[in-house]
Amino acid sequence: MNEPARQQPAPDPRPIEERLDHPVGERAPITPRERMTILRQLMPEQDPDDRATNFAEVNLGFTEKLAVIEAERCLQCKNPVCITGCPVRVNIPQFIDLLARGDMRGAADSLLDDNALPCVTGRVCPQESQCEAVCLRGKKGDPVAIGYLERFVADWANRHRDGATVAPASSGKSVAVIGSGPAGLTAAGELAKHGHAVTVFEAFHAAGGVLIYGIPEFRLPKDIVHDEIERLEALGVRIEPNAIIGNTYTLDELREQFDAVFIAVGAGLPVFMDVPGENLKGVYSANEYLTRVNLMGAYRPDSDTPVLHGQRVAVVGGGNVAMDAVRTARRLGAEEAIIVYRRGEQELPARREEVHHAQQEGIRFELQVAPVEVVGENGWVTGLRCVRMELGEPDESGRRRPVPVPGSEFVIDCDMVVVAIGTRSNPVLTTSAAGLNLNQWGYIEVDGAGMTSIPGVFAGGDIVRGAATVILAMGDGKNAAAAIDAYLAGALPAS
């Protein structure tokens, strides 16, 4: 610890930003008072008018200079609450401190030790409701931009891979991971670090789950996901695509062939609105729309996989998936792309940055509005009949329940509707596995260690908790990997 360096007063009259231009060791230290005056650095981003017509990433990433300035804002709290705010418990102050000192390798190693997919989480985590929500600097002013710093360090690590990844010594144990989304990949990485032979089974032809089929290129470039997966493969993780558990193999077969199994298949079934007209041509589930565009590359003009290019597109829902869909429609040429959400702006479940980016890109928000019918002509969508909502008494979620305003019906003219109101559990695996206990919604029941009713079979991510976030799924993957490791060592009794 070089703490004394930080505590010395610095009689350097130059602005902090200028002083931070100099390498550590050649620059005067920052005083605590000065540290408090540094403002949160802004993420450089593509111009909204440009980016609304392309699929390149919106956020361009911090420069090293911006990153070091932002890192100097961290107070290195004795009781780092940010760590407890993180579902995978990244040692945030440590990697930020190493970054501030210019020790990029150290920062990268520290981050990667805690987080299997930092390039991903640095881009898609809802930091404002997790680590940054509890950051002390946020009590007065803006919290440290932990997500942007994570992304910077992770991208640096990606560019500076030494290539000499050594697969750990074999434990002699094997684990099957079902699903290659964030929960499955995180668990696979952790298990491989412990020397277990991991095989990941993926239903699609490419690994990554929602990171590949769901989250668009402009928010999470697919090359980054491929890089993260390559790093896991270098650790010895084997990926078997086109393998649908419940169809291609049964859970029982995996149980026989592997010492433990981790089920992380997500909540892959789309929920529709259950209103008339939903089977008209031009109505998509967000799953289908985004899969066509992202996984199948339908945004490219020469793509073999088709997707409709709506001119006026209504997207129903207010979460991240809805924002992804509406911004995708805009990029595919929609003159008007509209979010239709039944509650108000404050209740939008999407990350704040996504809502902000959507607004910048000219997305129209129809708030406190609920669809009652998809209107069509000759089998094609021509509009979405809606009713205005007002907020009534709080419901079981604590949010005020929207109730329809009588006589307020109106039609939003549109030629395409994307339904992004959530997903539920897919029964292909769960109903084909005897002895696997499910709850009333079809999600898998697990004990405190993440083990299901079948000994040696663990589960995590959306198939346990219902549709949630990438980082919560990763947290489940990390916890399950620790429990599986203990189980394989005989330290966790079969429940």
Binding site: N247, G268, P270, F272, N279, T291
Partner: protein, 281 residues
């Protein structure tokens, strides 16, 4: 990677590919299908598993070349590979356990009824197959179906077998003998006509639906069909349904979602081929 080990032309635009897929060959059942992605960048399309040889570890795919993706697929030769095959998907056929079944196949739908007819025969059910095509050269799988029972062949122009549509031949079978179930697969108008014909007599009629799909596991909802007024996913709830409950108009309509796109893709492909040919000269 799935090497192609056999290829033959069944009709002017229908090709049979025999492909290595050992796991699927071992466990597939009649009625099930696979999702195929021919190469990197190709579209994912569903194809019925028309036959399988568990010993050789191969499955048979029968492909009608009607668009860019299917033309690419049938352009593959023995020694080439199909990049991705996922399956077996969908529910297997609920086979009659005894009695007399009629299997009706129209065009490439005949490829879907072949494994059903084979399964019925194995179960000890008497099978009559009624298959048809525009003219003689469009009739497929007559010999293969002949191994499962009697075959009635119809051609629209009368150039082979009995003249007329399969529905007329089916009407004669129903009129002359007891039929316990009908399995009908073919173009939407054909399946609808069969269902309408068997409805008055209340003969159980199973149809196999071929809506547009992406994943084949229930995650996209693109293949939704209306059966008995309820929305069902053909990929996981089907592909076979009670023909008397299916909304065929909706099915036919939804199959046309990408018609313009498909036409453009096909034209692009043909232009590219023409350019290649010109360059080769």
């Amino acid at each position: 990677m799935h090497p192609i080990v056999g290829k033959s032309q069944l009709s002017p635009n229908v090709t049979r590919l025999i492909v290595e897929a050992p796991r699927i060959a071992q466990i597939r059942e009649p009625g099930q299908f696979v999702i195929v992605r021919a190469a990197e960048g190709a579209e994912r399309i569903p194809l019925t598993i028309a036959d399988a040889d568990p010993e050789r570890g191969t499955i048979t795919l029968i492909v009608q070349a009607i668009g860019k993706t299917t033309e690419d697929l049938v352009a593959l030769e023995v020694g080439g590979v199909i990049r991705d095959i996922a399956g077996p998907l969908g529910k297997s056929t609920e086979l009659l356990e005894s009695g007399h079944a009629v299997c009706v196949g129209g065009g490439v739908g005949t490829a879907v009824i072949l494994p059903i007819a084979q399964g019925l025969q194995r179960a000890g059910v008497r099978v009559t197959s009624v298959i048809g095509g525009r003219s003689r050269e469009w009739v497929i799988l007559e010999d293969e179906l002949g191994e499962a029972g009697e075959v009635v062949v119809c051609t629209d122009d009368g150039s082979y077998g009995r003249p007329g549509f399969v529905t007329q031949a089916l009407a004669d079978v129903i009129a002359s003998e007891k039929v316990d179930a009908i399995y009908a697969v073919g173009p939407v108008p054909m399946m609808r006509a069969v269902a309408e014909m068997t409805r008055p007599a209340g003969i159980h009629t199973v149809v196999s639906l071929n809506p547009i799909m992406v994943d084949g596991t229930g995650m996209c909802g693109g293949c939704r069909v209306s059966v008995g007024g309820e929305t069902r996913y053909a990929c996981v709830d089907g592909p076979e349904f009670d023909g008397h409950a299916v909304d065929f108009a909706l099915l036919g309509d939804r199959l046309g979602i990408y018609r313009d796109f498909e036409q453009a893709a096909l034209e692009r492909r043909h232009c590219a081929l023409a350019a290649q040919l010109a360059a080769a000269r």
